[in-house]
């Protein structure tokens, strides 16, 4: 009985002393954190994707508070939460939210098995980084998609997947939050974050091949050969040619799809338009043909009307021209 009592007293005393020491130490060395950081952190999505450029949502929260102290939230954006979350953050910090247009990841290569013939077989480590470091890959295109899915592995939102028939990654627009993880993971800079566009309608050049025309043509059926037709066609000065490949500036593009009509390689793509460009072109051609037929009929009628009073003049004129 005595032993138990001694033990209880000793342990109780030790506990008491430790508690007192800890109480004073915690007061003395307390780390003061801005309470707003915790509040901001709460409204952030908590995905820790790093899309904002900071290490996780905690980093973003402290960056927001710091920026608010300096007077502006400009340049800070949570791609996952978008304007809604940034609005909440701004209201916590007593600021005005800076709006930014929503973006989406776009894969700029359509070198599917059908379009881009395989010229070799690679059987080393199956990651894009390894293939890229080892050589140009299995096809004749030195810039195109390697199809090993580094972007798929990098995506935390299950928004990008390799299409098994084409071997090319496809972005799920609904799930993509434009965090940019796939952009960083792609060793060939094929994936780009582009503005979603009005009504989600957007147009982009789906090729990054920097070879000259003949080489690019040989490597892939849908490669950009830098012919410059789209550049000439664009009324908004949105298309430029650099490094043997054309590029559409998403800020300037009005999604009129005039470039798509003239592209001989069909390497300009669109999304979310009600009608495909081929349908539009077919309809236009039909309309044009109809208009032409009408004009022809009208011209013939006119010619007939004119030929009645002066029948000798009109047949002789073309003959003279021929001679």
């Amino acid at each position: 009985m005595n032993v138990i009592l001694t033990a209880v007293i000793v342990l109780g005393a030790v506990g008491l002393i430790a508690a007192v020491v800890l109480f004073f130490v915690s007061k003395k060395f307390a780390v003061k954190e801005d309470p707003r950081i915790a509040l901001v952190n709460e409204v952030l999505p908590g995905a820790n994707c790093g899309g904002c450029g900071f290490p996780g949502c905690g980093g973003m929260a402290s960056a927001c508070v710091k920026a608010a102290d300096q007077g502006s939230l400009e340049g800070l954006n949570c791609p996952v939460g978008g304007a809604v979350v940034m609005g909440k953050v701004a209201s916590i910090l007593g600021m005005e939210a800076t709006a930014s247009d929503p973006k989406v990841a776009v894969v700029r290569c359509n070198g599917s098995c059908e379009n881009r013939p395989r010229i070799a077989e690679y059987d080393g480590l199956k990651t894009c980084r390894a293939v890229h470091a080892c050589g140009a890959g299995e096809t004749g295109c030195c810039n195109g998609c390697l199809g090993c899915g580094d972007c798929v592995a990098a995506c935390k939102f299950d928004a990008i997947h390799i299409n098994p028939t084409t071997g090319i990654p496809e972005v799920d627009e609904e799930k993509c939050v434009a965090c940019g993880a796939c952009v960083k993971a792609c060793p060939r800079a094929i994936i780009e974050l582009r503005l979603k566009g009005k009504n989600n309608r957007r147009v982009w050049v789906g090729c990054v091949n920097q070879d000259k025309g003949p080489a690019a043509m040989k490597a892939c059926k849908v490669s950009c050969i830098a012919c410059g037709k789209c550049v000439k066609e664009c009324k908004f000065d949105a298309i430029s040619l650099t490094g043997n490949v054309s590029y559409i500036d998403d800020e300037k593009c009005k999604a009129c799809r005039a470039c798509m009509k003239v592209c001989p390689r069909e390497c300009i793509y669109d999304a979310n338009f009600p009608k495909s460009i081929k349908e539009v072109m077919a309809a236009e051609a039909e309309r044009k043909a109809a208009a032409e037929a009408k004009a022809k009929a009208a011209a013939e009628a006119k010619a007939q009307a004119e030929s009645a009073p002066a029948p000798k003049v009109s047949p002789t004129q073309p003959k003279e021209k021929e001679e």
Binding site: G124, A130, A133, C134, G135
Partner: protein
């Protein structure tokens, strides 16, 4: 017999073409000269489209300090300056020449007369280095580092000896061996020139014991030349690596990068480079042709060729009986460190010592299994690294840790992957890590 201290493996030799005498390869119809055939800045073209060139005409001048000029190996007209798929698999700028006849520049001495250093007392070390630089000589072993830079060591280091790398430890390749058997006298003069250039009186030739005829020949030729010693070495891969060779021949270990062999007093040159130096200095012949082995188990007649650079590889393979049926793996270099090619039209460059064709079954990799922690890769690594760890860290993108684990010391010899019983793609991972870490280090020093 001597060898290096740690690591190493014993791949099957397969020196199929060892006793096949060298023949001059046919001239190509069109020769292609990539502008980056060496380590360093690409060369800058000095010819224009339509210009007539002779054998030995300067095509492109050095594009920086670490760079080398490129000379024409054929006579004819410059067809275009375009791009070509080179050994890396990527398109690189290149000069195309349509071959017409075979007319040489008059400055080149085409006679077979052996010029010794005793005949030319006027050659100062500076003059030798200058002629080597002008002739565009680069390391002939494969990496292609400009030779004149190696001959001018940094002021902090002092060279004490020249070591000639005649190891040829890669399986299949026999071009250096044939060169030694056919041009021993010229090589010895080349060694004299190298020794004079770096101002030392001590030379070594490291030859692996699987080439007894070459060892005997050089011992005989150098019987009354005590300053140049023939060092027979045990057969072990990768003895031809610079650092391994220094360790094997003079028992000195080169510290981790950025240290280079000259920091322990050794200037290492390939035996092919010694021959190229002889031709450049004594015959005024720029580097435009080299010995190339064309080999493979399925190749009908494996052989050795004296090849004009710019010749497409398919032409050499055709001269040996053509590409074998079925799937093949085409390599520029040997099976251990060679570069797999995606095109048979890749031209022979300064560093192409061999064109190796492996049959698809031989070359096919086995399915990787989980690591069983046997540490065979650790004992095989000639640099004393831990390949399993480097591969894992690289897979996990732990760049800081990789730097601490000395990934930059890796010589990419592939011994780890060769020895791995689980067929793990160790070198593939390590290579990614190494290039990334080197990039980080470069960026950091650029900031400073």
């Amino acid at each position: 017999m001597r060898t290096f201290r740690i690591g190493g493996v014993h791949p099957e030799e397969n020196k199929l073409s060892a006793e096949v005498a060298t023949v001059a390869a046919e001239l190509p119809k069109q020769a292609v000269f990539p502008l980056s055939q060496h380590i360093g800045a690409p060369a800058k073209p000095v010819v224009e489209r339509g210009q007539v060139v002779k054998v030995g005409t300067l095509l492109a001048e050095a594009g920086g300090f670490v760079s080398a000029p490129i000379y024409s190996s054929v006579s004819g007209k410059v067809a275009k300056i375009d791009t070509v798929v080179d050994a890396t698999g990527y398109r690189k700028p290149a000069i195309y020449i349509n071959v017409e006849g075979d007319e040489w520049e008059e400055s080149i001495d085409r006679s077979d007369k052996l010029e010794t250093l005793a005949d030319h007392p006027e050659l100062t070390p500076e003059e030798i280095i200058n002629r080597v630089k002008v002739a565009g000589v680069t390391g002939m072993g494969g990496a292609g580092f400009p030779t004149f830079i190696k001959l001018t060591p940094p002021p902090t280091a002092k060279a004490t000896c020249v070591i000639i790398n005649a190891v040829e430890c890669e399986p299949y390749i026999t071009s250096d061996y044939r060169l030694m058997m056919e041009h021993a006298d010229e090589i010895i003069v080349g060694i004299d020139l190298l020794m004079k250039a770096v101002k030392v009186n001590e030379g070594y030739i490291g030859i692996e014991c699987n080439k007894p005829k070459a060892i005997e020949l050089f011992q005989q030729k150098l019987a009354n030349r005590p300053e140049i010693k023939v060092v027979p070495l045990q057969k072990r891969y990768p003895q031809g690596g610079e650092k391994q060779l220094v360790d094997a021949v003079i028992s000195r270990q080169v510290p981790a990068p950025p240290a280079i062999p000259v920091n322990v007093g050794a200037v290492v040159q390939n035996v092919g480079t010694a021959f190229a130096v002889y031709e450049a200095v004594m015959k005024h012949k720029p580097l435009f042709e080299r010995y190339v082995t064309v080999t493979g188990k399925k190749i009908a007649r494996p052989g050795n060729f004296l090849v004009r650079m710019g010749t497409p590889m398919i032409q050499l393979i055709d001269a040996c009986g053509g590409m074998p049926e079925g799937d093949n793996k085409l390599l520029a270099g040997g099976p251990m460190m060679g570069k797999a090619l995606t095109s048979v039209e890749v031209p022979v460059c300064k560093g192409t010592n061999s064109v190796t064709v492996l049959s698809g079954d031989d070359a096919k990799r086995k399915e990787p299994q989980p690591c069983i922690r046997c540490a065979k890769c650790v004992s095989a690594c000639p640099m004393g690294l831990e390949p399993y760890l480097l591969a894992k860290l690289s897979d996990k993108s732990e760049w800081d840790r990789l730097e601490k684990e000395m990934i930059t010391s890796c010589i990419e010899c592939g011994s780890c992957q060769f020895t791995c019983p689980a067929h793990r793609p160790l070198l593939d991972n390590i290579r990614i890590g190494k290039t990334t870490v080197m990039g980080i280090i470069r960026a950091r020093s650029a900031k400073k």
